[in-house]
C-alpha cells in the first residue's frame, strides 16, 4: 500500500504522543440546527480544546444511531442539509477551524455523490478523513482506493463483537486511526464504561500500532479519563449533540465551548 504524505490526523497524534497527552474527539451533526450554526459550533469545539472533529453527515435512516443523533439528523435534513452543501460550506469553516476533520457518514449519500467526485471534493475542501459507518471491509475495495488517491484517511470501526481476524483486517485498511466502539449498540450516552471496552483495546493493541480512538456512550470526564488510560483518544458525540439541542437556541455556541472545555479540563490532559 502506498504511503501517504502525513495527514493532519497523523500529525495530531504525533504531537499528542510527543506531549504525552491523550486526545478528545468531538462529534456534531452537520446542519444541526443549521449550516451557519455548524460553522460557529466547530469554532467553539476547537476553542474548547478538542483535538479532532467528527462531522456527521445527516441521513434519512441512521440505523446505527440512538435517538439524540437521529433527532439531529432529522433537524439537519429538515433544514435542507445535504452532503453537497456540507462540502461546499467547509472552506468557509476552514478559515476559522484548523483541527483535523473526519466526515462521518452512512454509505448511500457517498455512493450517490459518486466515490470519485466525493473523494476529490472532500479532499479539496479540506476534510482529512472519512468514516462510512455501514460500509464493511468486505464492500470497501473501490472506496478505499479512491479515498487514498485523494489523500483522505480511511477510518473503520472495530467492535467488541469483532473477531481478532476481523480486527486485523480493519486495522489493515484503516489509516489515521482505528475507531473502536466501546459497546455493542447504537450511539448514545451511558452512565458507565462498558466492561467490553478494556478487553477490546487489549486485543487490538496486539494487532496494530495505529492510534486507537474509542467512542459510543461517553459523556463525562471520568469516562473519558478511563478511556484515555487505555487509548489515544476518546469520542464524545450524543452528549454534545444533546447540549446543542437543549442550549444552542438560547446560549449559542458558547454553551458547547464550555462543555468541551469542561470535558477537556476534567481529563487533565493538556492540549497538544
Amino acid at each position: 500500500m502506498p504511503t501517504l504524505s502525513t495527514s493532519r490526523i497523523q500529525e495530531k497524534f504525533r504531537r499528542l504522543r510527543e506531549a504525552g497527552a491523550k486526545g478528545l474527539v468531538i462529534y456534531v451533526t452537520a446542519g444541526d440546527p443549521s449550516l451557519e450554526a455548524t460553522g460557529d459550533l466547530l469554532a467553539a469545539i476547537q476553542a474548547g480544546g478538542a483535538d479532532i472533529i467528527e462531522l456527521g453527515i445527516p441521513f434519512s435512516d441512521p440505523l446505527a444511531d440512538g435517538p439524540v443523533i437521529q433527532r439531529a439528523s432529522e433537524r439537519a435534513l429538515a433544514g435542507g442539509t445535504t452532503l453537497r452543501k456540507v462540502l461546499q460550506a467547509i472552506p468557509e469553516w476552514r478559515k476559522r477551524v484548523h483541527l483535523p476533520l473526519v466526515l462521518f457518514s452512512y454509505y448511500n449519500p457517498i455512493l450517490q455523490y459518486g466515490l470519485e467526485d466525493f473523494g476529490r471534493d472532500a479532499s479539496e475542501v479540506g476534510a482529512d478523513g472519512v468514516l462510512a459507518v455501514d460500509l464493511s471491509p468486505e464492500e470497501s475495495g473501490g472506496y478505499i482506493e479512491t479515498m487514498r488517491k485523494w489523500n483522505l484517511n480511511t477510518i473503520f470501526l472495530g467492535a467488541p463483537t469483532s473477531t481478532d481476524d476481523r480486527l486485523a483486517r480493519l486495522a489493515n485498511i484503516s489509516t489515521g486511526f482505528l475507531y473502536l466502539i466501546a459497546r455493542a449498540g447504537v450511539t448514545g450516552e451511558r452512565s458507565t464504561l462498558s466492561g467490553s471496552t478494556r478487553p477490546l483495546i487489549e486485543r487490538v493493541r496486539k494487532i496494530t500500532s495505529l492510534p486507537l480512538v474509542v467512542g459510543f456512550g461517553l459523556s463525562s470526564p471520568e469516562q473519558i479519563r478511563a478511556v484515555q488510560e487505555l487509548a489515544e483518544a476518546a469520542v464524545v458525540g450524543s452528549a454534545v449533540v444533546r447540549r446543542i439541542e437543549e442550549h444552542f437556541s438560547t446560549e449559542g455556541a458558547a454553551a458547547i465551548e464550555r462543555y468541551v472545555r469542561w470535558l477537556k479540563e476534567g481529563t487533565g490532559s493538556s492540549p497538544a
Binding site: 437521529q70 454509505y107 448511500n108 457517498i110 455512493l111 470501526l157 472495530g158 463483537t161 466502539i181
Partner: protein, 401 residues
C-alpha cells in the same frame, strides 16, 4: 428440467446476486451475521433440521397449500386460465409463516432466546409472534405507528400471542423505520437475540435464507400445475414488496425458459416520488438496510418516503435478487395502483368468495389487465400470498364495500 438460462443461482460467497446484495452493516453486526450464515449453512445440510422444518410446515402451518383453478374469475375475465396459489389458507393467513418457522428453528439452534422483527402490514409480525409462542421465545416486534393504526387487528393478535409490539414514531412511521428500530434493538442485544427478517432484504445471508424458506411455494406450484394441467404455466404473477412471496413462487421456475414471470410493485397514487413504492420505475441502485439494490431515493441519497394502500408493499427498497432478475430481464416488473388493487380485491371476493390481502390484490390487478387478451388455453398462476381480513377497515374506508 430444461437447462437454466438467465438464472440467479446466487448468491455468491460475498452474498451477491450479480452486482446486487452484499453486506453493508456497522461492524458490530458483522459477527452475528457471519454466525447466522454458518448456522444456516449447517442447518441447510442437516437432515434433522429439514425434517423438523417440513413437519411444522405440514402439520402446523398447513402445507401444501392448494393450487386452485379460479374458474369463475377466469370466465369473468374471458381469457387465460387463472390458478391461485392459496398461501392465504396458511396458519396466520399469509406466506410469512414459512420463513418464520424456518428462522425460528434456526434461532433455537443458535441458542437465541429472543426474537426481534419488523412488520409492515403486520402479517410478518403475527407470524413471528406465532412462532415465538410455539417455540417458547421472547418476542419484540417493531411496527410504524402509521401501520399500527391501519392494521390494528394484527397489533391485537400479536399482543394476544404474548409479543411486545413497539410503535415506531420516527421517519415515515412505516416499514422502513420499523427495520431501522429493529436493527438498533438487535445491535444492542446480539448475545441473546435473533433478528427475524421478514423478507428477502437486508445483508447477506438474509436474502438467501428467506428465499430458501419460501421456495416451497414454487416447488409445490410447479408440481401442482403439472398434475392439474399437464404442463408448465405461461406466466406467474406475484406482488413485490421486499419480494419474499414472489421469489418464493418464481425461484424454482427460473430455469423454465417458457415460463414468464411478472412481479407487481405498488404504484400507489401516482409515480411522483413519495406517492408510490415502484422501485424499478422510480428508483436507482443504492444501499439501504444492509444491501445494494434498487432504492427510491433523492439525488442526495436520502431514502424517499413511499406510499401504498398496502402496508406490506410500502417500502423504498426491493430484495437484491429481484434487482438481479430485473437486470437480467428474467422477470418483468410492473406496478398496480391503489385503486385498481382495491377493485381487484372486490372482484375476487365476488367471483370466487375469497377476500385477498391488499398486497396480493396488486398481483390480481395485473392479471385483470392481462388475462382478457390472453389465449383461453394460456395458464396464469397468481400467488395469493395472504388473506384480506386485516384489510377490512381499509376496504370500508375506501368505499368499495
Amino acid at each position: 428440467m430444461p437447462d437454466g438460462q438467465l438464472t440467479t443461482t446466487g448468491p455468491d460467497v460475498r452474498g451477491r446476486f450479480g452486482e446486487f446484495g452484499g453486506r453493508y452493516v456497522p461492524e458490530t453486526l458483522m459477527h452475528p451475521i457471519e454466525e447466522l450464515e454458518r448456522a444456516y449453512l449447517d442447518a441447510k445440510s442437516d437432515a434433522a433440521f429439514q425434517t423438523e422444518f417440513k413437519r411444522l410446515l405440514r402439520y402446523y402451518a398447513g402445507r401444501p397449500t392448494p393450487l386452485y383453478h379460479a374458474e369463475r374469475l377466469t370466465k369473468h375475465l374471458g381469457g387465460a386460465q387463472i390458478y391461485l396459489k392459496r398461501e392465504d389458507l396458511l396458519h396466520t393467513g399469509a406466506h410469512k409463516i414459512n420463513n418464520c418457522i424456518g428462522q425460528g428453528l434456526l434461532a433455537v439452534r443458535m441458542g437465541k432466546t429472543r426474537l426481534v422483527a419488523e412488520t409492515g402490514a403486520g402479517q410478518h409480525g403475527v407470524a413471528t409472534a406465532t412462532v415465538a409462542a410455539l417455540l417458547g421465545l421472547e418476542c419484540h416486534v417493531y411496527m410504524g405507528e402509521e401501520d399500527m393504526a391501519r392494521q390494528s387487528p394484527n397489533v391485537f393478535r400479536m399482543r394476544l400471542l404474548g409479543t411486545e409490539v413497539v410503535g415506531v414514531a420516527s421517519g415515515s412511521k412505516t416499514l422502513k423505520d420499523a427495520i431501522n428500530e429493529g436493527m438498533r434493538d438487535w445491535v444492542t442485544n446480539i448475545e441473546n437475540t435473533h433478528y427475524l427478517m421478514g423478507s428477502v432484504l437486508g445483508p447477506h445471508p438474509y436474502p438467501m435464507i428467506v428465499r430458501d424458506f419460501q421456495r416451497v411455494i414454487g416447488q409445490e406450484a410447479r408440481q401442482q400445475i403439472l398434475e392439474l394441467a399437464g404442463r408448465l404455466p405461461d406466466c406467474l404473477f406475484a406482488c413485490v414488496g421486499g419480494g419474499s412471496n414472489s421469489i418464493g413462487l418464481f425461484f424454482d421456475f427460473i430455469p423454465d425458459a417458457e415460463v414468464k414471470m411478472v412481479g407487481i410493485e405498488a404504484g400507489g397514487r401516482s409515480l411522483n416520488l413519495g406517492e408510490h413504492a415502484a422501485r424499478f420505475s422510480g428508483g436507482k441502485p443504492g444501499v439501504l438496510h444492509g444491501t445494494y439494490t434498487y432504492v427510491l431515493q433523492d439525488a442526495d441519497g436520502m431514502i424517499a418516503r413511499t406510499h401504498s394502500v398496502s402496508a406490506g408493499l410500502d417500502y423504498p427498497a426491493v430484495g437484491p435478487e429481484h434487482a438481479a432478475l430485473h437486470q437480467q430481464g428474467r422477470v418483468e416488473y410492473t406496478y398496480a395502483g391503489d385503486q385498481e388493487s382495491l377493485e381487484a380485491a372486490r372482484l375476487l371476493a365476488r367471483t370466487e368468495g375469497i377476500v385477498p390481502a391488499l398486497e396480493s390484490s396488486h398481483a390480481l390487478a395485473e392479471v385483470v389487465k392481462r388475462a382478457p387478451a390472453a389465449r383461453k388455453d394460456a395458464i396464469f398462476v397468481v400467488n395469493l400470498s395472504g388473506r384480506g381480513d386485516k384489510d377490512l377497515g381499509i376496504f370500508q374506508s375506501a368505499g368499495i364495500l
